[in-house]
């Protein structure tokens, strides 16, 4: 028998994402995890610039729209000043991995006790589909019109792997929202990340692969399939580090 699930009360109004976008699913997963962990009234969101900032328009909670890329620094201070609040920086790949790579990496490097959720849709969505640091090799965008040439632009960055390999972080994983099994798995990753933060043992990051049908110029179903067949080959799904909670 199918069960209907209530929309988490943190989500107070319809969000304004494009049809077929994965942001709405990711935000709902975050809200569900917070509710299930009893933290929905104990949450502060520093949010990025770009499509991720639309979380600010749809969630009823303490939230701060940070300057482009700076959420890692803002979150650092919020968590250190309010250690008992759950702090989740919600950012896109352009925000966290390009303009904010310094702040994102440094927060992981210091093992700050907050959680970062990074929506990776392999392009700058809000500005209309330009190449980002996660754009796939040969992917066409508005600034790589013949396809991304990695000999000139460098290779796409894999941040959760970097955090897991190089820093003493608590939890690093990559999920996807392109089908139901992966949505469920991604939810478990987000939950573990928040639990890691609650344990105080270390920084936690979950990257979420997300379809961008508008800028990929695909139908929503085609975009989901594109993630399964192409995006996941470059960005493997799974958990890269899971420190034991004390």
């Amino acid at each position: 028998m199918s069960k209907s699930k209530k929309v988490p009360y943190l989500v107070d109004r319809p969000m304004s994402f494009c049809p077929g976008c994965g942001h709405g699913i990711a935000i709902r997963l975050v809200a569900e995890c917070l509710e299930e962990l009893g933290q929905a009234d104990n949450i502060v969101f520093p949010i990025g610039v770009g499509c991720s900032s639309l979380l600010g328009g749809g969630i009823e909670a303490d939230r701060l729209h940070c300057s482009h890329g700076r959420a890692g620094a803002v979150a650092t201070a919020i968590k250190r000043c309010n250690p008992n609040n759950v702090v989740i920086s919600y950012q896109g790949d352009g925000d966290a991995y390009s303009i904010g790579i310094g702040e994102t990496t440094s927060a992981a490097y210091r093992n700050e006790r907050f959680t970062t959720i990074i929506i990776n849709n392999t392009n700058y969505g809000m500005t209309g589909g330009q190449m980002s640091n996660t754009t796939l090799p040969n992917q066409k965008t508005n600034t790589s019109v013949y396809g991304r040439d990695c000999s000139v632009t460098g290779n796409p960055i894999r941040f959760p792997e970097l955090a897991a390999d190089q820093f003493n972080v608590g939890y690093a994983a990559r999920g996807s929202v392109h089908d139901v099994p992966n949505i469920r798995k991604t939810k478990s990753y987000i939950k573990k990340a928040i639990e890691m933060q609650l344990s105080g043992e270390g920084y936690s990051v979950v990257e979420v692969l997300s379809p961008c049908p508008t800028n990929w110029k695909m139908e929503p179903l085609e975009a989901m399939k594109h993630i399964a067949e192409h995006v996941t080959t470059y960005f493997p799904l799974g958990e890269f580090v899971e420190k034991e909670e004390k």
Binding site: P46, G57, D62, L64, A73, T76, A77, I78, N82, N85
Partner: protein, 352 residues
Amino acid sequence: MADMMKGNVAIAEAAIRAGARLYAGYPITPSTEIMEYMSWRMAEVDGVFVQAESEIAGINMIIGGAACGVRAITASSGPGISLKQEGMTTLSDEELPAVVVNMVRYGNGIGTLYSAQCDYHRETRGGGNGDYRCIVLCPSSVQEATELMVLAFDLAEKYRMVSVFMSEGALGQMMEPCELPEMRELPRYPWGFDGKYTNKKVGIFDRNSRDEAVLLNEKYNAVKENEQRWESIDVEDADYVLVAYGLPGRASIGAAKELRAEGYKVGMIRVITAWPFPEKAFQEVNPNVKGFITIEANATGQLIDDVALTALRTIDKKVQCYCRPHVYGIPSVKAIKQDFIDVVNGNMKEVY
């Protein structure tokens, strides 16, 4: 009995006593002792200290702390403050109070290590994007620096603005007798994040920038009306008035007093709030004054613009406005007296 204290140390301790409980920043000469002091002192008062990876991250940490209602401070010098402009316009946009210390050093680009006043225009106009102002406080002694630090936090809180503490490299490095302010135990600002959404912030997409702009302008006008600060001597009957701030301001007082003793009718205005500019000081000046002379530690003359504009607004006739930019360092009393003699003898051309 006042203790001898180094400027940067006195500034840092005064900030702690004024209630600062978050410091985040990046080292840069000649402000670094402030950060070094905070790195151990903040822990003693259960505050937060973060050595940030950059000036940009540092000011964004200040934003995070201020958003939680914590009194927050960062310090730097010219080039570092350039990087902080993004955060300062964001603080102003969110109407979050904070104190930003600029121990000014001379030069464009990465500049030099010489003490100077070359950042006047940037600090008084707001160097980031948009339409905002910061309160700018300029001490001329270590003692005054500690007093203005308390005021910087109080004004930032009262108006929910950024207070810029604009001093000079030399003031941070010199030692003087200094009575520190009393330690204050203050609660956090009442409107900060608590995770419960107790204090509703206007959502980023629900804002009405046109209405906000009107309110912001009203706030800035209130600051202009209520918060002008200056020190002046002998301006009521002066033929010439020296205008300066910071350490050149202190030297100019000495020069004005000596010139007066030598029979010249010279007055002096020492600017304490570079913004709001002390227009009221000019309303007390002799209506028949012949000229204003700014003494500055920069290359192009910056204070002169505010002086000329203010003279135009406060004095019924056109008054000549002269400027002697000494580039960097602190001009001596002797040098400032010579500047005055150059004006009187017609050897200095007016700027306005």
